[in-house]
Symmetry: C2
Subunit: 337 residues, 2 copies
DNA sequence: CTGAAAGCGCTAACAA
DNA sequence: TTGTTAGCGCTTTCAG
């Protein structure tokens, strides 16, 4: 049998109440008894059962993390950064991949609540905002990598609009005018698209291409869509891809048509995951400060849990352009004479 | 206040014992009362508190997963596959990244035990085998992606030796004789190295290069070590890298010296993660059946938990060579005349 | 400063 | 078939 608080009490000749108090440093205990109890705790190698503690109404020190897909490098890196901070603060993370599937999302939320997690963190991809607002009433909630305008929820977001704007502006500065966009239809990408469009308009650029949202944010779809653009009547000289995976697929597509990145076509990605250091050429990309996002969101969470802080915060992180080899000055137009 | 079993009991005019029985489908309950109770459960939107259930000695339906680093694509993909099966079986996963750090490992194990997880799964990288054996006495334990010879622990492993052998043999078949190896000093890589060596010996190959283990399994180290080999007096014509990240770094190094993969140097990786589809050329690699590993290990786990099966199993999965663009027939030797 | 006792929400004998 | 009751391991009044 595992050793319980009773064992400790008996072994040190005090009551369980006293033991409880020294463990939690609560109440007033005499130095002597305290020392004695601490000793026997050590001897017996006693560790309080957190389940029992939790049942008396205290923290479970578990928090749920809902992400679309743990196998996606961006989310894996994000989860890792949340995990690091969580562990520093004494929490464990229960990670659930939802695959953007509302039914799974509901199921996991339910399960997490039944397990009395101290809070739930939603990573981007979760679109049931009303559900979040509702949960927010009963449980500490935080949202990361996703803006959640005009709501009363702890949020650590990334300025997607600005990201789209910066990516596009970078290409425009390099002289590109025919810039295409690739992305899946989720909130962050709609924002990035707005940024893209504004950058284009601001520079009086009006490149026509048959934009359509893709269905999955993976290499294949990036390759497919970039290929489609490359074979259109008026192919782009640059592509903004809404994540590094799509960018990688785009590079592959360009190469497949016998063209070079960046000589013929420039590509910029999003996220600055490990992927960006694996492509050839290395990928110019809009960096999300993943480490920072994880830390901030866990800090908000623990603040709400431990200090019962009810003021919510919204932290917006600023995108940074990381220039690598996949973007380049546009080729001089061949002047037709 | 959350609704408890008492609320349900009161609302349906029965005792809490009865409610408990209909929830768990235990004991014998009259159809009528059963229906009645089920109805009020629905009305009140009652969900049993798993913490309380757990305290009475039943499952917590949480299982711990210890991996070296969630941000590493291989482990992220592995975690995802374990997670999928876990959720199918009704379990949640508490994921802990240990960074190969024994102190962290101990800390997490401790925490997980205190939280009464139903079991702990160790992914490769964990070297404290005696600790595992010890834990194995008190808790369902399983090991994945790591062989654990002559032990009484549930294991899903990958034949690393054979993997090293196959990778090397593939290159030898392509005519390579100067084959170098890159890897970190962990168990699986020591096995892969054995496989490499046996393949070399079997073919009377005795390529001398200054092998040394690297310190981290990442792109940078792959690039560094491959670069070192490439600039030695007798550079290799092929490289076996112990994971896809290292292989990617190797490809970069080769290119940096103005050579081509696969024309001048062939590279084979390990794991067949998403990385292998992002390099240029696409990476020939030894595939670990990640999906299958995750499923198997969770099945072993739940079997031990639910059926109290005490027979342990060892499942060994066979490596498969996935041929892509990074390996090629060796260049004909220039016959010096 | 210390301990007895009630209770957290649920399960499982054992009675009725 | 249903209900009573005693825990599970811990926290927390409230007396002493």
């Amino acid at each position: 049998m595992k050793t319980t608080i009773y064992d400790v009490a008996k072994a040190s000749g005090v009551s369980i109440a006293t033991v409880s108090k020294v463990i939690n440093n609560s109440g007033r205990i005499g130095e002597k008894t305290k020392k004695k109890v601490l000793e026997t705790i050590n001897e017996l190698n006693y560790h309080p059962n957190m389940i029992a503690t939790a049942l008396t109404g205290k923290s479970t020190f578990s928090i749920g993390l809902l992400i679309p897909d743990l196998a996606n490098p961006f989310f894996a890196e994000l989860a890792r950064s949340v995990e690091d901070r969580a562990h520093e603060l004494g929490y464990n993370l229960v990670i659930c991949s939802t695959d953007y599937n509302p039914a799974k999302e509901m199921k996991y939320i339910d399960l997490l609540k039944r397990k009395n997690v101290d809070g739930i963190i939603f990573a981007s991809g979760f679109e049931q905002l009303d559900k979040i607002e509702e949960l927010n009433e009963s449980l500490p909630i935080a949202v990361v990598a996703r803006d959640f305008p005009s709501s009363n929820v702890n949020t650590v977001s990334f300025d997607d609009y600005l990201g789209g704007f910066k990516a596009t502006s970078h290409l425009i500065e390099l002289g590109h005018e025919k810039i295409a966009l690739i992305g899946r239809d989720v909130w962050s990408n709609r924002e990035r698209k707005r940024g893209y469009e504004d950058a284009m308009h601001k520079n009086d650029l009006n490149y026509k291409f048959r934009f359509e949202y893709i269905e999955e944010s993976n290499v294949e779809w990036g390759k497919y869509m970039a290929g489609k653009y490359m074979t259109s009547e008026d192919p782009p000289t640059a592509i903004v891809a809404c994540n590094d995976l799509l960018a990688s697929g785009s590079i592959q597509a360009v190469k497949e048509y016998g063209l070079s990145v960046p000589d013929d076509v420039s590509v910029v990605g999003f996220d600055n995951t490990i992927i960006a250091t694996l492509t050839d050429p290395l990928l110019t990309t809009i960096a999300q400060p993943i480490k920072s996002m994880g830390k901030h969101v866990m800090d908000l969470m623990s603040n709400e849990i431990e200090n019962n802080v009810t003021d919510k915060s919204r932290i917006t992180l600023i995108p940074k352009l990381v220039t690598r080899g996949s973007t380049k000055q546009v080729k001089k137009r061949i002047v037709q004479s």
